[in-house]
Amino acid sequence: MAGRRRKFIHPNANTKMKLRYLYILVFILLAAIGCEKDSNRSVAATGKGGSTARFTISGVHLYVVDGDELHTFSLQNPAEPEQVNSLQLGWNNSIETIFPWKDKLFIGSTDAMYVISISNPRQPVVEGTASHIRACDPVVADDKYAYVTVRTGNNCSGDINALYVYDVSAGAGSPSRVFSQDMNNPHGLGLHNNYLYVCDGAAGLDVFNVQDGANPRLVTTKKGYTFFDCIPVDNVLVCMIEGGMVLYDISTPANPVVLSEIKK
């Protein structure tokens, strides 16, 4: 009896085992596909540019803004990019900067900030627009807020110098402005661990605590250079200044300490 029963159970158990193997196999396959997608997006070995850049790479695409358009190049073969899209955004040479964040691009122009979705990386679409007075305006952003400086002078018309914060958490539509503060002549900015570094030209480097992004608090101003843009990389802040660069240790983000300068 026992033998018969065992015989009876065996094939059943076998099927269960086979099914289990199949599940495991399917799971591994799915995981592998997931990894591949991930590597396309984040593991790809790209560096970090500043907020005033016109070139940026997200995933395996290079995005370039010129005066009026956003150009998309596929980097499927990084050595030989292929142009796959051009999107008209502005007129009269108004587009100036591009900043990538996850599946979005934030584009600064002389009269607006554009939020672009790159959920389909080959075909960027405008998701939101925040219009403001005519001025130059680089952008940095995270999930919730976009930080924008607007400035006048040189090639930038208008008559305002300020730091603006827009709530971009809603995604589509026109982001609402939740904060504004007058500045001297702000250029690029960099975001790092709840701290925002704003290059305020000859007035210095302003460090804001942005734990509450809607309410940045100025914690210190570093002087001694004319600041144009800065890039936080790990615990180092690389700043583009008039005549070269200066590097700060930002392991204490609220208090940048000069490490070195590269000039002449």
Partner: protein, 141 residues
Amino acid sequence: MYAEKAKPSSVSFQQPQAIENAGKIYVKDKLLYQVENGKGIHVISITDPSKPVREGFIPIAGAQEISILNNSLYTNTYNDLLVLDISSPENITITKYIENAFTLVSTVTPPESGYFECVDPAKGMVIGWTKKKIYSPKCKY
């Protein structure tokens, strides 16, 4: 300003040069890149950020922008996209060149509105604009 426009035939990694017209910056793998506006790219090692070491200079006419993926460096020579393989600095090669990929330098009007010297295509390609006193200008925007 005008220049003869031509596809660069080769690009080389040269001795470090002085930073004169400091441009945009880019960081990747302990290397810091700074554009020398209109002239090329400075390459600086920041393995020890308190002691940066100037590694060299990549001359590229008209350069303003830079981005890197893996071993490919993307930059512009005026309005053309230039892709360099930088896997071995002593042997930089051009892997792709796309003419007129974008319009980073307006060849029609200067960046600031006002009177300007009309563009004369016979003089070559417009590579930039300078401010100076001109008499009875005919062009304005």
